[in-house]
């Protein structure tokens, strides 16, 4: 349970973020409902044509959507289709580009923290687990595993000529389950929830999810970063205990080696900012170059 050290602090990023997470689910459900269809694929068609979500100026899923005629595609899905089909039409790249730009400019894993429905479900599950007092391992799988899993997914997609993650994605189970009753990845989601309840703390999002791995790679750029005011920090480690990604990503900043949390793992979820009793952490725009102190000793040694 994260304590609220500063009761006077009224704004909490975590609550704002939960609103955005729910809004993201509602955003994709809205066109289905506006078209007069039921969620979970419960509607049935008849002999006369019905109006469809695709008639509206916005509709889609997390894999692909259309905004006022502009096609958007999940960039990791596009990568899988490119290697699976061995073709790369410009339209696919153009449709993935806005997504890459938005998350690239903000922060790759802002998707994970602010949009992904699996993260929301697993956050709720983790809070539930803590209430029950079930102990789990902190980092049973190294956080960089997801990068390799992402590469493995692409290799396997090329090998089997099938976009592999799309067949197992627990994100599909939630997103497309709500939209049209697809059961893709439902087993995967069940396995993940079991693993996180009894085995590894947030192990899917932190270490395993290939989409998270893709966005981790993208997260090496990004302008929205958690910055640390060294003067205000009292090294209580409340931030590390609250981190939704991996607590070790805060260490360079806490050790004074970096001014911001630079790791691509950071979801910009704001949990550490909420948890900080001295308001030493805040979101900052821009990241600056990695400070030179870390390089100087190496140069002296050389």
């Amino acid at each position: 349970m994260s304590a609220t050290p500063d009761a006077s602090r009224s704004f909490r990023w975590t609550w704002f973020r939960h609103i955005v997470q729910v809004a993201a689910i509602a955003l994709f459900a809205a066109p289905v409902l506006i078209a007069g269809w039921s969620l979970f694929g419960a509607s049935v068609g008849g002999d006369d044509p019905l109006s469809t979500p695709a008639d509206l100026s916005f509709f889609g899923s997390l894999s692909s959507s259309s905004v006022g005629g502009l096609a958007l595609l999940d960039p990791f899905g596009v990568l899988q289709v490119i290697v699976a089909s061995k073709t790369a039409p410009v339209e696919w790249l153009l449709a993935a580009l806005p997504i890459v730009l938005v998350y690239g400019l903000i922060r790759g894993r802002a998707f994970c923290g602010w949009v992904c429905p699996v993260n929301l479900v697993l956050e709720i599950e983790d809070a539930f687990r803590r209430k029950l007092g079930i102990e789990v391992r902190e980092a049973p799988v190294p956080r960089r595993a997801k990068l390799w899993i992402a590469l493995g997914v692409l290799a396997l997609s090329a090998l089997t000529s099938v976009p592999v993650f799309e067949a197992f994605s627990p994100i599909s189970a939630l997103n497309k389950g709500v939209l049209f009753g697809a059961v893709t990845g439902l087993w995967m989601l069940a396995a993940i929830m079991l693993a996180e309840l009894f085995w590894g703390h947030r192990v899917w999002c932190r270490a395993l999810c290939p989409l998270g791995g893709f966005y981790e790679a993208l997260g090496r750029a990004g302008l929205v970063n958690v910055k640390l005011d060294q003067e205000a920090c009292i090294h209580c480690n409340a931030c590390k205990r609250s981190c939704l990604a991996d607590p070790v990503i805060l260490e360079p900043a806490l050790a004074g080696e970096d001014a911001v949390v630079r790791a691509g793992d950071c979801m910009a979820c704001g949990a550490c900012i909420d948890a900080c009793p001295t308001k030493a952490l805040s979101f900052g725009l821009g990241r600056g170059a990695k400070p030179a102190e870390t390089e100087e000793p190496a140069a002296e040694q050389a």
Binding site: P31, V32, W37, G41, S43, V44, G45, G46, D47, P49, L50, S51, T52, P53, A54, F59, G60, S61, S63, S64, S66, A71, L73, D74, G77, V78, Q80, V81, A84, S85, T87, W92, A95, V136, P140, S161, V162, P163, E166, A167, F168, S172, K176, L179, F180, G181, A182, V183, T184, G185, L186, W187, M188, A190, A191, I192, L194, A195, F198, W199
Partner: protein, 202 residues
């Protein structure tokens, strides 16, 4: 940490079992929406985004269930419950963002499969004048025609037998949806090209 190891093992086993199950279920023949170019081309392109499902004004396109292995969540048409109406403008094809459905300008470009009639079960072949499949066919007199002929060994009665033109039938499945016979089985169904190439076993 004994229980946690068991749970970790169980979770991993669930994933591995599902993967193994998927890998062994490759040969199911699925009726795809218009514009699919064979199963291997389709499965290489489809990201299961559901755009075609959200574009179908008849809600004929549905996500495949968990009984089809890797194809779970891909769009299929269950012709018996809701067949493809062969819209003139093919909104499903227009909606597909990854080219899994493509290259359809008119109805005759569609190649979902071909209707196949089980002559032992079809009541028309038993001497009843049914003609339902013929009358509902969007390509009436092209894809399905009625062959009027004298019943075998019967000098008085005729048979009004529906006959499929394999070159013109596009496999929309409306005949399957409307067929009046369901016991012991529906005597008409859509066979995909892959199934026909495989020897016609369902």
């Amino acid at each position: 940490m004994r229980i946690s190891s068991i749970v970790a093992g169980a979770s991993a086993a669930m994933v591995v079992l599902q993967a193994a199950y998927c890998a062994t279920r490759g040969e199911t023949f699925l009726l795809r929406p218009p514009g699919a170019h064979g199963e291997s081309d389709f499965s290489a392109h489809c990201i299961k985004c559901g755009a075609c499902m959200q574009a179908c004004p008849y809600l004929a396109i549905r996500p495949a269930g968990s009984d089809v292995g890797m194809a779970v969540g891909t769009p299929i048409v269950d012709a018996r419950s809701q067949a493809c109406r062969l819209c003139e403008d093919f909104p499903c094809v227009a909606a597909c963002p990854t080219g899994a459905l493509r290259d359809i300008d008119e109805r005759s470009d569609v190649r979902m499969g071909v209707a196949v009639i089980d002559e032992d079960a079809c009541i028309a072949f038993q001497g009843m004048r049914c003609e339902v499949c013929y009358r509902v066919c969007p390509l009436i007199d092209k894809a399905i025609a009625i062959d009027y002929r004298l019943r075998e060994g019967d000098a008085i009665h005729s048979v009004f037998a529906p006959v499929i033109d394999e070159k013109q039938c596009v496999g929309c499945g409306l005949c399957v949806e409307r067929c009046v016979v369901s016991e012991p089985e529906v005597p008409i169904r859509i066979a995909t090209d892959a199934e026909r190439a495989d020897g016609g076993e369902a």
